[in-house]
């Protein structure tokens, strides 16, 4: 049972499987291993820094005593205080201290740290705790960013009147090495690491997969398109609306190993079928090991064996090549743009891209360039303003009709009036069929004309009448 309690006390485990990096975890209930020094060891640097570095230290008067009947530490002879110092531990950045206690009434724990290198103390904190009939774990101290060798000071006040017993203490994210001689406080267990990737399970988002450790997510966003590029359309920006979430998964070395994209076609108010893809700028197709989950029904793209499109300098991964294959329309040619037509649903498409470990890619290497393309005309790509076309875009379209892209300067997908054919936003709403965006989103014009300074929430603010005209939003 005691062993179970010990394990339950682990709140944050350090990243190590080696005993030398074990966290300090001590159960007072099975040991009297407490060095005692005359007087009050506060400020006695000789005692605190040099004497018995592997021991808990307490004073003879204002100290704490082990009581087998109470299964832990109780106040010293003062009857008021139960004071002790932990063994010397190496603190690495922030750490947490927890105590396991029982008490019949309220009490305070005063805590601070003692730097054994220079004798300084600091970061004092008082934690008020309540009665606990059964053993209860409480955090008593959370340090700021610090590193070095420290003792943790614990001073339980009103300990006698409230019948406080300290059963165990745990310092996490602080390493403890038992000394060669003298007192030897046992170390706590190393953490559970099921996939042996060096990341404790409680910190590992994928505890059973050594290639995955940490998940970083860009929440759902919408991409909205006008599909008549390079000509103007009706500016309802619902010819294709795709919502997507991106989860980048890194391993224990912070290497980028996977990218998961979940996408749903929200609307398709277009006569022509379209696909949707992402170019990962700066990432070579050869750095992609595999891609799964793409919806490819129309042979629009010529794919490589790793799931990226052939003929591209950067990795291009299709999400779908025909929106008709990933929607469940309830009727009519326009999908979820006409309120008079029953609403349909879009399939959730989940793309998993695996990157080569040898590529040593990191999170910061992800530079997304999402684009739509015509199913029956691969080269007709539409990107957000300023984003470059892929190698397989039809470059002859630039500079025609209302497009004013400057191929030389790299200013792509900008119209003669400085307008886009594609927009992305954290908002989810879009206009009804053939409704100009400005009629639906009332702050959009002011946002744009202010250069983005005003009403940055033009799309996410759902306040009707002020920010949007709900009657003109699907």
């Amino acid at each position: 049972m005691k062993t179970l309690i010990k394990y339950a006390l682990v709140i944050v485990s350090i990243i190590s499987a080696h005993n030398s990096n074990a966290q300090l975890q001590f159960d007072f209930t099975n040991s009297t291993n407490l060095a005692r020094h005359s007087g009050f060891p506060w400020g006695n640097t000789n005692v605190l820094s040099n004497s018995d570095p592997g021991c808990f230290i307490s004073g003879t008067t204002y100290g704490a005593y082990y009581d087998a009947n109470k299964d832990g530490l109780i106040p010293g002879s003062s009857g008021y205080y139960a004071i002790f110092w932990t063994p010397i531990v190496a603190v690495q950045g922030s750490y947490t201290a927890t105590v396991e206690y029982t008490a019949t009434g309220n009490f305070d724990i005063w805590s601070t740290i003692y730097n054994v290198a220079n004798g300084s103390t600091g970061n004092a904190q008082v934690t008020q705790l309540g009665a606990a009939a059964t053993k209860t774990v409480a955090t008593i101290y959370i340090n700021g960013a610090t590193s070095g060798n420290f003792r943790q000071y614990v001073n339980v006040r009103n300990a006698g009147a409230s019948n406080v017993t300290i059963h165990s203490i745990t310092l996490t994210s602080a390493t403890y090495t038992p000394p060669v001689s003298g007192c030897s406080v046992p170390t706590g267990p190393s953490c559970t690491d099921a996939d042996s990737d060096g990341i404790c399970d409680n910190l590992d988002d994928y505890p059973n997969d050594p290639a995955k450790a940490f998940s970083s997510t860009i929440p759902w966003m919408n991409w909205m398109y006008e599909d008549l590029f390079p000509a103007y359309g009706d500016f309802d920006f619902n010819d294709l609306v795709v919502s997507a979430e991106r989860e980048a998964i890194t391993d224990a070395d912070n290497d980028l190993r996977f990218l998961k994209i979940k996408a749903v076609v929200m609307a398709a108010g277009a006569g022509s079928a379209q696909g949707w893809a992402v170019e990962l700028k700066g990432i070579n197709p050869g750095e992609v090991l595999s891609v799964s989950g793409s919806s490819l029904t129309d042979n629009v793209m010529i794919m490589g064996s790793n799931g990226t499109e052939n003929g591209q300098t950067n990795a291009v991964i299709p999400v779908f090549d025909n929106f008709h294959s990933v929607i469940n329309s309830a009727g009519g040619p326009f999908f979820n743009t006409k309120p008079s037509v029953p609403k349909g649903t879009g399939d959730t498409i989940t793309i998993m891209i695996e990157f080569s470990k040898n590529s040593a890619l990191v999170l910061g290497d992800l530079d997304y360039n999402f684009f739509s393309f015509r199913t029956d005309e691969r080269g007709l790509e539409i990107h957000e303003m300023g984003y470059s076309p892929t190698d397989l875009a039809d470059m002859t379209l630039f500079g025609t009709k209302q497009d004013a892209s400057d191929v030389n300067s790299g200013d792509y997908y900008v119209s003669v009036d400085g307008l886009p054919w594609a927009m992305s936003s954290a908002g989810t709403a879009y206009p009804t069929e053939k409704t100009d965006m400005l009629e639906s989103f009332l702050k959009l014009a002011t946002w744009a004309q202010s250069g983005g300074a005003l009403f940055q929430d033009w799309h996410t603010n759902t306040l009707d009448a002020a920010y949007r005209n709900a009657a003109k939003i699907y």
């Binding site: 994210s173 303003m385 400005l438």
Partner: protein
């Protein structure tokens, strides 16, 4: 009779006031009635996101082995960034967030949190 008249007058005034206010708030900016007529400044790209650079400065004297896990969250508790940090080296990384994002939350390995206002496109966690 007098009381009824007063109440009626107040009701008419209130309705007229509401109508006027609603008309004002849903009106479009002057001279801009359609998307095509938007006159945005040169270089404005209509992007709904912004990229901010998040950095953790190296801590002198910190242990060399990686030992600290940090998180950056948005106001809806989405974990935008989870990263193992070597305190002696620090790190710098770009992060894409919605343009309307005003603040982010930094969570240290001990669970402590700090709200960070985004006043420009670069934030330092320590």
């Amino acid at each position: 009779m007098k009381r009824t008249l007063i109440l009626s007058t107040l009701a008419v005034l209130a309705l007229a006031s509401c109508s006027k206010e609603e008309q004002q708030v849903i009106s479009l900016p002057d001279n801009v009635s359609t998307f095509r007529k938007i006159n945005a400044p040169d270089g404005f790209d209509f992007k709904g996101t912004k990229t901010i650079t998040i950095s953790l400065l190296a801590q002198s004297g910190a242990p060399s082995q990686p030992s600290t896990l940090i998180k950056v969250l948005d106001s809806k508790e989405n974990v935008l960034l989870k990263y193992k940090v070597n305190p002696s080296e620090g790190f710098e990384i770009p992060l894409e967030v919605p343009a309307s994002t005003k603040e982010l939350i930094y969570e240290g390995v001990d669970g402590s949190r700090k709200t960070i206002n985004i006043s420009n496109n670069r934030i330092t966690l320590n």
